[in-house]
């Protein structure tokens, strides 16, 4: 089974050799072990070419071992469950896992875009802005090519079958990162009795200790890790989240962690019926936070430093120790600091030949230099690797002596064959979360990195992420941060001794931001800074030559730090090269801003359970089942599902609506109007309050009286409308539009609480408690009488615009003589539990009158025939009641919200858009809603527009189409002709008319 894993070491590693498994990459099957990552398994199989670079299509291989990996971006899985843009270094190997490189179209090995490499000069910094511009007509062709060739993974095109969940948690101390510093901090806090959450993005805790041969207290360091984790697991108030990446640090110590769930365990716990949770998003509010996320090793910037086989030294050590994978046979190590010497020792110990350590420092390493010498590894101090040979794989390193002058040219005097080049340019603390939280960064000239500075929120940094690069310093710093956290919480820090380590002192790092080449920086082979975005030293220099100075601008111009990388690998090198080019110190140039997310997070994890009906709940009226049984297609209004029409015998929308309209006009129809917002207003100051918010004179309404009312914003624009009924001296009932119900209640509450707290008024929503059945048409009165009503319904006893309580078919109801159709009509309010019974009785008794249920579409036509507006359809937040011709509703005797605004000069303009009716001159054309209105045809673009169509229907009652529109100065232009100009259609000649098309005197509703 292990066959083919040529680079697998015979012994060691944290892989489970008893669990071999198979996986595929780019369609080819390979073998690996449980405990491998996709990256380690590919390296074990000798797969060094993993994809093509973003812009220049250069062959690329694995560089790193974790979140900093720029090249090994994978599409994992097939079909709907495929996950794009995963880093191979972070994908746990599973049986049957199928991965593809996301870049490299049409294939990784033969790449059409590779030719682009030769044209690199036209794809320099800012190429987006400079090339592919002319001729303009070719843009579509360019765009197709660019979009196809660029881009990372392919988003699945069907719904994600994976399940996600959100979980909220609170803790005293959240520790981000489970390496030596994080474990130490967590132990300290937990022993003090704090509630602790420890999250680490890896499968196992240990951080950097997983990758090396460190010792703690004279034993393998991982023994100490195992002890610490076991102790923490025992603690009742300690939660350990492995595979959990803290990716966002938000305000008020709110942090987000995405946890990859181990499917088997979850499935077992939850039973087979539910699909296991794939990822869990933790939303944590922490009192204190300790950031211990470690540091990223930086690559070195030399010519062709992107060739497969050039890897970070720490990653090489990690693959050897953790995965028992030897990524090369003959290695060169290139460094400007001591840490890579350990990689040389690791390589030698694993059986590789280390041809040389190339150290840019003239003095070489500290104490570790002696150990290397004892192993017989040659060290070339004061030298650099200036260039490498090989295209799909490193073949050799070109080495030059270097004096230390940053931009000097060097001469390559020595070439060493190798298939692996392990590089180290020093370490950059992972300050991302600190920076997200608003913390400042400080440049450390001795360690050549940005350190977390002053924090804005209650957090602290510890370990390598705080610039403590040695193991002993890490442990001590974790203890310090843990103690500081518990002291801030008022707890007693426990007595803990710092475990002993056996490190020798290191020689200091020396700056080497850009390795000198044989030619000058703009002509030498490409020196990559950001591998993922193909940003080179020459690109940054070009950006500076073209006038860019600010680091944020240079980033956007050169794409430095874009993509999934977000500057993890290349940012500091980029800033430093920019600083050197500008001749400024690095801290003066600064860094770009770090923002969430730290690593890519799936949309599914962000959504959690909030998908489908759990995201957008469906609201159904009490009569919903009847509507469904009647076969009514539903229209979604807000969250309500309302019947749109009730087709009979296979009718289409138009036939059904025409029939329903005629039924209402000629006999009687019934509609479920339950979704209207309903607000009960009561209290001794109810009149006073409503006077202030509604435009009409409320105090003149006697109990039993109804009125049409509109609400204005303080800006004078129509916000909502509805019926106001006065039920008693101190009690009113308001209706609102379906979509405006919650907004109106909130609006009224806000004024009551913030502006007029002295008013004794109480507001109660009744929207769902009561259902509304609208019975409309000349036979509506006869229908209710036939059904059995205990009060007289004749015109004199119960006039138009009045309200009565009554018993209808033995059921208590409120009857409102209001009409949205212009016909004799009754709106019946009834407790929602009784509504289905009443509806059925009405349908039974109504057979005699051919009682016809109608939906929202017919309601729209009927009201448009009358010129009644729908707020939000015929208005858009820029329409005053004057624009709608509702001056009669505006009291002159009192103030009301928005009144003063109606006198603003803008609201008095004669050319404001006003509500009018439109009839098409041809007579038979339904004008598309939303069509713009123009004065004349035949004008050249841009054509001035004088209005737009807001509602448009065919009126069966009138036998022709009708439309409502907002037209500049429209009310004074009756009889004039305009043209409706729907896009892509011939203009339609229309005549401006009154918006009241049907029964303009309103006689029918008063009978």
């Amino acid at each position: 089974m292990a066959a083919g894993q040529a680079n697998r070491l015979p012994r060691g590693g944290r892989i489970d050799r008893s669990r071999p498994l198979r996986f595929s990459f780019d369609g080819k099957s390979y073998a690996g072990y449980a405990g491998d990552t996709l990256a380690s398994a590919l390296l074990a199989n000798g797969v060094s070419l993993l994809g093509r670079s973003f812009k220049l299509r250069r062959p690329r291989g694995i560089v790193g071992g974790g979140a900093e990996e720029p090249n090994a971006v994978m599409q994992v899985g097939e079909g709907a469950a495929a996950r794009p843009n995963l880093l191979a270094t972070q994908v746990e190997l599973e049986p049957g896992l199928a991965a593809r490189a996301t870049r490299g179209w049409p294939s990784t090995r033969f790449d059409i875009g590779a030719a682009l490499d030769s044209f690199g000069r036209i794809l320099g910094a800012g190429f987006y802005y400079k090339t592919f511009k002319y001729p303009r007509a070719w843009w579509k062709l360019y765009e197709h090519f660019i979009r196809r060739a660029a881009g990372f993974g392919k988003a699945p095109d069907s719904p994600d079958p994976d399940r996600y969940e959100h979980r909220n948690a609170h803790c005293d101390v959240l520790v981000a990162g489970g390496g030596p510093a994080g474990l130490m901090a967590a132990l300290t806090a937990a022993r003090a009795g704090a509630r602790v959450i420890l999250a680490d993005d890896d499968v196992e805790f240990g951080g950097s200790l997983l990758a090396g041969g460190d010792a703690i207290d004279g034993a393998p360091a991982m023994d100490w890790v195992a002890g610490a984790v076991a102790e923490l697991r025992e603690m009742p108030d300690c939660r350990l989240l492995s595979r959990g990446t803290v990716f966002g640090y938000h305000d008020h110590n709110f942090l987000t962690i995405v946890q990859r769930c181990v499917q088997e365990a979850d499935a077992a716990a939850q039973g087979p019926a539910r699909r296991p949770v794939a990822e869990r998003l933790w939303r944590v509010r922490a009192k204190r936070v300790v950031l211990a996320q470690g540091a990223f090793e930086r690559p070195l910037v030399f010519c062709n430093n992107d060739r497969p086989g050039v890897m970070l030294a720490s990653a090489v050590s990690g693959y050897i120790h953790r995965h028992a994978v030897l990524p090369g046979r003959r290695a060169v190590v290139f460094t400007n600091n001591d840490s890579a010497y350990r990689t040389a020792i690791d390589l030698a110990g694993a059986g590789a030949e280390v041809a040389a350590i190339v150290d840019s420092r003239p003095g070489g390493a500290g104490a570790i230099g002696q150990r290397v010498k004892e192993l017989g590894i040659p060290v070339l101090a004061g030298h650099v690797v200036s260039d490498v040979s090989g295209r799909r794989r490193v073949r050799g390193a070109g080495i030059a002596r270097w004096t230390g002058e940053p931009w000097s040219a060097v001469e390559i005097t020595l070439r060493i064959d190798c298939d692996l080049l392990a590089v180290s340019g020093g370490f950059s603390p992972a300050v991302h979360l600190h920076s997200q939280a608003g913390g400042k960064l400080e440049w450390d000239e001795s360690q050549l990195c940005f350190l977390p500075g002053e924090a804005r929120q209650p957090h602290d940094s510890a370990g390598a992420g705080n610039g403590k690069l040695s193991l002993g310093d890490c442990l001590a710093d974790g203890l310090r941060a843990g103690k500081a956290a518990v002291e801030a919480l008022g707890l007693n820090p426990p007595e803990i001794e710092i475990p002993a380590t056996n490190e020798s002192p290191a020689a200091p790092i020396k700056a080497l931001w850009r390795v000198p080449a044989a030619k000058d920086a703009d002509r030498c082979p490409k020196q990559f800074i950001d591998f993922q975005n193909d940003t080179t030293v020459a690109d940054i220099r070009l950006a500076v030559r073209e006038g860019y100075r600010n680091v944020e601008h240079v980033k956007r111009y050169t794409a430095l730090g874009f993509g999934t990388d977000q500057g993890k690998l290349g940012n500091i090198n980029g800033m430093a090269v920019l600083a050197e080019t500008l001749g400024k110190p690095i801290p003066e140039v600064g860094t770009t801003t770090f923002r969430p997310a730290y690593t890519p997070v799936r949309f599914g994890a962000g959504a959690g359970e909030s998908v489908g009906a759990l995201y957008d709940p469906v609201r159904k009226t009490a009569l919903h089942q009847w509507h469904e049984a009647a076969g009514a297609p539903m229209e979604v209004v807000g969250q309500w599902h309302r019947p749109r029409y009730f087709p009979r015998n296979g009718e289409d929308l138009h036939a059904a609506v025409a029939r329903e309209c005629l039924a209402v006009r000629n006999s009687v129809g019934i509609m479920d109007a339950s979704t209207l917002g309903k607000i009960d207003v009561r209290g001794p100051d109810a009149v006073n309050f409503l006077e202030r918010v509604y435009t009409h004179n409320v105090d003149r309404m006697k109990p039993g009286r109804c009125a049409y009312g509109i609400l204005l914003g303080e800006d004078g624009m129509v916000m909502d409308d509805g019926v106001m009924a006065r039920l008693a001296e101190d009690r009113f009932y308001l209706t609102t539009t379906t979509g405006g119900a919650a907004q109106v209640l909130d609006w009224l509450e806000k004024w009551l609480q913030t502006e007029w707290p002295e008013l004794e008024v109480w507001l109660t929503s009744l929207t769902e408690q009561f259902s509304t059945l609208a019975v409309a048409g000349p036979n509506s009165r006869a229908l209710l009488e036939k059904l059995g009503c205990d009060i007289p319904l004749d015109r004199e006893s119960f006039p138009f615009m009045h309200v009565r309580t009554a018993n209808l078919a033995g059921m208590p109801v409120s009857l409102f003589r209001v009409s949205f159709s212009g016909e004799l009509a009754f709106e019946i309010n009834i407790a929602s539990g009784l509504a289905p019974d009443l509806w059925r009785k009405l349908m039974d008794v109504g057979r005699e009158f051919e009682l016809t249920p109608y939906g929202t579409e017919t309601m729209h036509v009927l009201r448009a025939e009358k010129g009644f507006v729908i707020v939000g359809q015929d208005t858009d937040g820029s329409v005053t009641p004057v624009d709608l011709g509702m001056n009669w509703l505006l009291s002159k005797e009192k103030d009301f919200l928005g009144k003063r605004s109606l006198a603003r000069p803008d609201c008095l303009r004669a050319d404001r858009k006003q509500l009018v009716g439109l009839l098409s001159r041809a007579g038979c054309t339904v004008i598309p809603e939303g069509a713009q209105l123009i004065e004349r045809t035949g004008q050249r673009a841009p054509v001035p527009m004088c209005g737009h169509v807001t509602s448009s229907y065919h009126s069966a009652s009138l036998g022709h189409p009708i439309a409502l529109a907002l037209v500049a100065g429209g009310r004074g232009r009756r009889g004039e002709t305009l043209f409706a100009a729907p896009p892509g259609r011939e203009p339609i000649a229309v005549e401006i008319v009154s918006p009241a098309f049907y029964d303009p005197k309103g006689g029918r509703q008063h009978v």
């Binding site: 305000d251 008020h252 804005r456 909130d746 509450e749 707290p757 605004s901």
Partner: protein
């Protein structure tokens, strides 16, 4: 996500609240007496300070009460929450041009 102290319910996550804009802008007693410019100032202009900001919040998913929060617009740090009927201490930073609610 902010952690906001509701004066009635205690500290709750921002998602339970809705924002109501700058606090301490009383509706003019006699709007008709105001010039267009004065009315526009009430209607449209807000102080938008860098630093301490008194603002209205509503515990929309809780007790549904409105109250005042003093928040630093730079750091998002919240200095305190106040009921509308409380006399609110004047922030150190500003000479407020409007009296607070309930003052």
């Amino acid at each position: 996500m902010l952690l906001i102290e509701c004066p009635w319910c205690g500290p709750r996550a921002e998602t339970e609240f809705s924002y109501g804009g700058e606090a301490g802008i009383p509706r003019p007693a006699d709007p008709d007496a105001l010039s267009d410019a004065e009315w526009a100032d009430y209607l449209f202009y807000r102080s938008n300070p860098r630093g301490a900001h008194r603002e209205l919040w509503n515990h929309a998913q809780g007790c549904r009460r409105w109250f005042v929060v003093e928040r630093d617009t730079v750091t998002n740090r919240i200095a305190g929450s106040f009921r509308l009927d409380e006399t609110v201490p004047v922030p150190a930073s500003a000479a407020e041009k409007q009296p607070e609610q309930g003052d």
